[in-house]
Amino acid sequence: MLYFRHLILSIINISIIFSLVYAKEKPVIVFSGADTANLIEPHTFRSTSAYMVTHHVFEPLIRQKMINDNGLLIGSREIHLGTGSESYSINETSDGGFLGVFKIRKNQTFADGRQVTAKDYKYMFDRSIKGPGYIGLLLPFIGISDVNQISLTDEMTLQIKTNVKSPLFERFMTFQVFGALNMVEAKNNSNNEDPWAFEYYKNKSGGSGPYYVSKFSPDSEVVLKPNPGYWNADKIPNGGLILKAIPDSNERARLVSSGLIDVAGGIPPKLLSKLKNDSNVKVYNRPSSGVVYLAMNQTIKVMKNINLRRAIVHAVPYSELINNVMYGYASPAGGVVTSSMETYDNNIGNQFSKDLNKARKYLKDSGINDPKLLLGVRESRLEDQEAAVLIQDSLRKVGISIEIQILPDGDFGNRINKNELPLFIHDWYSWGEDPFYQMMFLSTCGQWVNYARFCNKEYDKLVKEGAFTLDNIKRNSLSSKAQRIFYSEAVWAPLWSADRTIVTNKCVNGLSIGYSSIADMKMMSKKSNCN
């Protein structure tokens, strides 16, 4: 009997040693962009790479269902699945709002091992509304403005009550900025001057998502290690992520081709068109709802002339920009509601087209002879600078002189805020991809980011009504009317909708992209012996 026990123990020992020796460690996925994160505080405005870090660190209540689209997983706009919550329901209330009830998962912990509860989710909403970050500005859009609208029915059930019926409510619940934050840790690291621990979370993660931040070097490298307490940890096929800054896009392209990095972001379109022929990489591109636009600031005297604005709208070489600046990695934007967005009206969008005769006629009607205008572009955006040159050339043909000013990003932001640039190229992407949300921010009266300073009461009324309407037919009709006003008022020349593009090495799979347009790498795996 004793021998038998020894034999069994020996077999167990040998099998443990065998499995330790032969068990393959999960591969670490390396992503590279022009920079990494500047800071990772979830409610502070930060670099795109910083949003990518927090995307992998915070677990929202629900996420989009991912659908395979030729090797790339794309988030569905219609189907959402409980992630931070194991089940949820959203019902209309008698007082014209929604009631969302979310049952929080029991089998999930933060990286420090503490159980995630409904309190941690409520804390994050409270922090959004009362804290010094910018996220609180977004919540009224779904009818939340008071912390009392978020309540707990028990330790593991979160209840959210809105005072309007916004079609965006469910989509908002997928946003990383409403994921659970470790309330105990946050409270332990707060003080009177900083009651929400913003200072503490500048460089520390407190989420319950698939990873936690193990190393944070701003602008250089961020190392994310798997959170063992993540509810779906055993399904994650990789052993962590490294986000590495490789500032030069040519070097990034070479590194992804050679397999030293797995995923490369921020590759310029010109380089993408070359990489497409490289058998070592996969270039993914899908239409996005983002927009790059030429804005005309209506507080500046000359730009108040609607015929001049119309002349500019019809003198812009839209197709040339897509072909020669974006190398085909873009589609016509078609207006403030872009061509891949719900409620987009093709008949109106198509009217944003180059027609020099029309442009000359409008310029004549404007009564302005030989206008000379300043066009500002950002130093960090090469495509905008190239576009500015083509626009300058095209506008010259109808008699409008343009002086291009390439400005440091900080100066550019300052000057558009102070209404100092009559023309400038800017861009936008709306999380949630909702047309009314986009119109509300970019083109209604008094909005801070309505840099063209367009203001039309009828337009505002249409947008506000559409934003809180669930009826799709009505939404389409309201959106069309608003788009028509936007076109006829010549608020912008919408230049293009850039594709979401990302390059991966041929040996990796499982990349997904959702509402936030951020590359989600948690389901990425790497083939061994591939390169």
Binding site: L255, G410, N417
Partner: protein, 340 residues
Amino acid sequence: MWRYLFKRSIISIFTIIGIIIVVFFIVRILPGDPALVRAGPYASEKKIKEIRVKYGLNDPLLDQFKDYFIKLMHFDLGTSIRTGGKVTDELMERLPASLELAFYGVIFSLILGVPLGILGSAFKDSWIDWFVRVFAVFGSSMTFFWLGLMLTFFLFFKFQWFPGPVGRLSIGRLPPDEITSFFTFDALLQGDFNLLIESFHYLSLPVITIGFVLSAPIIKIVRSAMIDSLESEYVRTAKAVSIPYIQILFSYCFRNALLPITTTVGIVFGYMLGGNIIVELIFSWPGIGRYAYDAIRVNDIEALQGFVIIVGILYVILNVIIDLTYAWIDPRIRLEGITK
């Protein structure tokens, strides 16, 4: 010597104070609003105002300077508006990377430049001299970015002889425990020879890029200083009394040529102290050059002025070291200091 050092130190302190004053006011002339950068595009005017108050951007300029100067006396260079971190910490974290790169870049340029300069002078007007002169012209007309890109394209991407431009070590590799913060020194001190080799491996391409370009002025100055010495009367006398040519070259001429060489090395090293932004960008080198570039781009004024002040202080220290080296090389200088 001590008196000379004391005199130089006093002058240096006033120079540093001058640098601080000039930098503080020049940085504030730059266009742009740092509060806007911090707040981001979604922020309301109220939010931007709050940030201005928090960072003291609304205070009178003289009050801002007074606060800044007091903080500076406590080695506090302020807070980066972009990262929210302490500028002193962020610069100190990145400075060793730039210094290590500059150090090896200058060493490599000396290894390349001094022998070539001596060769050119020793074989003046021969084909060797011609080759040295062409090499120097080639080096002077070369830009860092072009050479860096070519080296990575051929030596990393095509032939895979050198590692990719991913920074100081391979991706995911842990750095050595911090002693000097120079990875090569720390790896050596800890006896980690694999890490030492890897550090040198990753230093190689940026060092070659820097060294090749910087060797050009060194070649020119060594060659011309050596030719001057070789044509002097004491060399003619030495030759007349049959002192071996090698001894004349190194013991007499090179020693006399050391002063202009030291000046050039000082200028070259000083130039590299600020971190070579282009080289750091191409090789993803996490140094202060890249930090300054990001600070300029987004109008991060405290980060920018912190960078300029640190570089200014280093430059002043470097100048003191060069002056002391002069005095060591040429006793007339230290005697002059004493007699005056």
